[in-house]
Amino acid sequence: METVIDIKHLSKSFGQHEVLKDVNFSVRKGEVVCLIGSSGSGKSTLLRCINLLERPSGGEIIYEGENILDDKHDIEKYRTHLGMVFQQFNLFNNLNVLGNCIVGQQKVLKRSKQEATVKALKYLQVVGMDKYQNAKPRQLSGGQKQRVAIARALAMNPDVMLFDEPTSALDPEMVGEVLKVMRRLAAEGNTMLIVTHEMEFAKEVADRVVFMDKGVIVEEGSPDQVLVNPQHERTKEFLKRTLK
């Protein structure tokens, strides 16, 4: 399978504190990868380094044969190929649901308003939020906001969707509606990289599970390998605590 993003020897430090140490990792086309690990293990930082919301301290991120950490690389253009879904939704508060899904297409991708609207409605339909196109973010529930955020990212037609703990800020009864949308995206063959604490979900949809601890990738493989028959002591310990 074709590799979409290839990460080589990636490191990230905040001052003296080393959050990522020599991470090597890649995402292939059509693959669903779940990043798991305890808080502070560096999995969110890794995701944020991939779309350069955090600037890596060292290493390479190869996309379409080019290292995007080169100084001359157009970061804004690169980011349009990655769809990001945040834990805190981060919908644009000044725009309604439709506006949220249009603004990036129109201003960044320079699509016409009509084309952008058609695309936006298509993806709002996918997440089941097309009925609420006129609502403002403050009028929506957490689950609804997150579904709109997913539609906003999809409308840019990214190569990879990045999810940073998309259900961690949701009430328990809203987690289901967001996971349902994500299951559908996975089934449709989207390339997805998901930081999550939902072990059952990871087991079900992931093609590959990556376990991180203290800034390094400890173990990776199929859900069965990592979640059912972990080889490393640290993975076993983590799973014992989360799966009970």
């Binding site: 804004e76 990655l82 990001m84 919908l91 990036g104 991708l109 009925k131 006129n134 840019m156």
Partner: protein, 242 residues
């Protein structure tokens, strides 16, 4: 002080009162708008990201220093003194500014100094997630500011801007020192001619109150309008969700 005297003063002098009120309102509104633009400009200048020790960052530092001096000078001196300085210093150099224009310059620059801080506070208060979401879909700094951040800042600082407008309506009275024919100046002229100071200034007081009251109400309305309706329509169905 009698009610009849007030009525008769109004009957004899209403065009002068009206003209004064008009000039007061014009200066207050126009200079609040000028000030808001200055405030946004300075606020944006302070948020431009730069690489350390680049040429761009040095130019920006010098520019921001000049802007800081401007803010400090205009916030740290009385507007009455600023009016005298601007008008008579320029006069000494042979430039005779139209008094109305001089008034706009003084009140506009004064408002700008205060608005700069208000806008800065407004920008700081916007959640970091808004910037990150904008960056994540590929917006550059300029696009992030124009399409996402500043519209929210404008809404959030509207109450403070309204406050500034109300203050400007009242504070234009100090411009009488450079003989701008605003409401206070006109009232002084009227009172000077009829020697009924109490009644004349009672009228001025009422006019000021009326103007600030209406301005406050209008701004409230504008806030409501900007916020949009509390409910939204669900497309393709008849139900309205609260």
């Amino acid at each position: 002080m009698s009610f009849e005297t007030i009525i008769s003063i109004l009957q004899n002098n209403w065009p002068m009162f009206l003209r004064g009120a008009y000039i007061t309102l014009a200066i207050a509104v126009i200079s609040t708008i000028i000030g808001a633009f200055i405030g946004f400009f300075i606020g944006i200048m302070h948020t431009i990201p730069t690489a350390k020790r680049s040429v761009k960052s040095i130019i920006l530092k010098v520019f921001n220093f000049i802007l800081s001096v401007y803010v400090e000078v205009f916030r740290g001196t009385p507007m009455m003194v600023q009016a005298m300085v601007v008008f008579y210093v320029l006069y000494a150099y042979g430039i005779e500014l139209d008094r109305f224009i001089a008034a706009l310059v003084v009140v506009g620059l004064n408002t700008g100094a205060y608005m700069a801080e208000i806008v800065r506070g407004g920008i700081v208060s916007i959640d970091k997630g808004q910037y990150e979401a904008a960056q994540a879909i590929g917006m550059n700094h300029f696009q992030t500011m124009v399409f996402v951040v500043l519209p929210q800042v404008a809404r959030n600082i509207l109450p403070a801007t309204g406050n500034q407008l109300v203050m400007n309506i009242k504070d234009t009275s100090v411009l009488s020192v450079i003989s701008v024919t605003e409401l206070f100046f006109q009232t002084k002229s009227i009172a000077g001619a009829n020697f009924k100071y109490a009644e004349s200034f009672a009228i001025a007081c009422l006019i000021y109150l009326l103007m600030t009251f209406i301005a406050t109400r209008l701004l409230r309305l504008m806030e409501k309008k900007l916020d949009g309706p509390d409910s939204y329509k669900v497309e393709n169905t008849t139900a309205v969700v609260k």
